[in-house]
Symmetry: C2
Subunit: 329 residues, 2 copies
């Protein structure tokens, strides 16, 4: 079997997750990790992995089948996505929901021109959760979907706290409210305010001498991020933060309930939930399954930007069509 030759662009938690995930997929192999840093300085998880400077990537287009973009959605991907789509089949986890359509168009244009296949915005949300919402809505159109996130750290909210004067470090947990979950699971179709769905719990390390009351007020009144939620603020030491709040676990649930019958007498509840010890590891594995799809679609001459909605599930599996029908259908 010809193995799918994978490149990794960017080596944070996600890149490391992809590096390790490749070892679980017998039809894949790692060509190398590409970085803006000094390649020799990277502390790679697998001793057989190689690191290259990002500049070397464009000389390796013929030995890499799919480049997995592991940079951030804020500043890395908006540049790297279209740039690498002109050179490689790519997969990324672009997750700024509001900007996906714009990003899609830019990557699509570059990929079509270069005859590449680029899967954007995959992972678990966007990604598997998006699929779950689509299937549920298509099957129960007379119904409603609810997405709950957590318990897990929100990077965006943690960053927002760190920008407050007097804050040295912070972690913000998004926590679904159990009562809301239970109402949806019972098949009710409530309209929730943000406050009714999620709680925000913050662990903050303040700089010496900082005004804690002011910091707490600034957090709780921050528009969009916190003001619409019940927010709990704990001040803790730097040591405590590192010891108790550096876990990467996350998760969430999509619940869709809908009605059928002559008089809407039947209620159905679809629930898709994830409990993840490591958010980056799991996301990395989703990217790898879609790397397999990008590789195969490209071989079939199907080019351009694709999302999870555009890809038939069979492309994700190492099994053949007949094997899938015999073992998983």
């Amino acid at each position: 079997m010809d193995k799918i030759r994978i490149g990794i662009l960017g080596y944070g938690n996600l890149g490391r997750g992809v590096e390790l995930g490749i070892l679980q997929n017998r039809d894949m192999e790692l060509v190398g990790v590409f970085t803006r840093r000094e390649p020799g300085a990277l502390n790679l998880a697998n001793k057989n992995s190689r690191a290259f400077h990002i500049k070397e990537a464009r000389e390796m287009t013929d030995i890499i089948d799919v480049m997995i973009l592991c940079g951030g959605s804020k500043s890395d991907l908006p540049v790297q996505g279209p740039e690498f789509a002109a050179l490689f089949n790519t997969v990324d986890g672009f997750d700024t929901h509001a900007k996906i359509q714009d990003y899609y168009e830019k990557v699509n244009q570059a990929a079509l021109k270069a005859k590449k296949t680029c899967v954007i915005a995959t992972g678990w949300d966007p990604g598997l959760f998006s699929l779950s919402r689509l299937f549920a809505e298509a099957v129960l159109p007379n119904g409603k979907s609810y997405t709950f996130w957590g318990k897990g750290v929100s990077q965006g909210h943690s960053d927002a706290i760190r920008r407050i004067e007097g804050v040295e470090d912070a972690r913000q947990y998004t926590i679904p409210i159990e009562e809301a979950l239970e109402r949806v699971r019972r098949g009710e179709l409530p309209d929730f305010t943000p406050r009714q769905k999620h709680l925000r719990e913050c662990y903050v390390v303040a700089k010496e001498g900082a005004d804690l009351e002011r910091i707490e007020n600034e957090i709780k009144s921050m528009p969009y991020y916190f003001s619409d939620y019940d927010t709990i603020v704990h001040f803790i030491s730097k040591e405590e933060l590192e010891k108790n709040h550096s876990r990467l676990s996350h998760g969430g649930v999509v619940i869709h309930s809908g009605k059928t019958g002559l008089n809407n007498e039947n209620t159905h509840v679809i629930e898709y939930s994830l409990k993840l010890d490591s958010n980056p590891d799991f996301t990395a594995n989703v990217l790898l399954a879609y790397a397999r799809a990008a590789y195969r679609l490209n071989k079939e001459g199907i080019y351009g930007a694709k999302t999870v909605f555009d890809i038939a599930p069979a492309y994700l599996s190492v099994k053949s069509g007949e094997e899938l029908r015999r073992t998983l259908l």
Copy 2:
């Protein structure tokens, strides 16, 4: 908008569910219900629906876009599937897992020859549960999937009891064993015997004077169906059976757990669950979403038999690609 013109073949609980489901989909309309019975004798759920004799179907190939086959997997579909694939785009819920590959080949041959698109074996299992297994296995290859069914009536097991001498009627509930569910949810990867996963509870109406002890023994010792399970048998009256055991609710759960990390230190649990007040209504709605896909694929010149694995999720939704990216991704 040109509506998708649907035909329904067979009018049991599933056919009735499709009839009602069409009313929830603004891009679909019912042409008619086709039956082997006297059409005028059908008691249709919607007063605007029309019934035709099955013989009339072949004269209506140009006014029906998709025919939904609502017959049983045991004797109806093996004949009707290939036969109607030669005339119409079709969708069915063929659910004899062991015979799916053979059925696929027969329908595929007929459909390719007639340039039709035929979605086979959809519903929730096979169907949405199959998808859930595929996605989970592709994303967490170092892991294992478990499917639990129920609580709900198993038609096959109820039929098996009815074939025992002295039995007038019966309902068999398949019930997942809570302890097994909990172990899998905790991320353990146990090997279960059938007995450890499901309990079988039977409500039996015996004929007058029948030997109850013999019936109970015959049920409990029936190979494959019951002998590998803990089975509870209740003898009840015909009235009790009709009053308390005619509900069509069902459900189940697919749980996949898997490991990642340098030393498999991270556990992830994916859970997909369904709680359905009406098994046939929900199944009907899945068939309708795939009818939309069959219609669109056929328009694009993609012919042959298809399963849920072969169809990109976007084909199921009434929304456009851009709308999907903006609202559900």
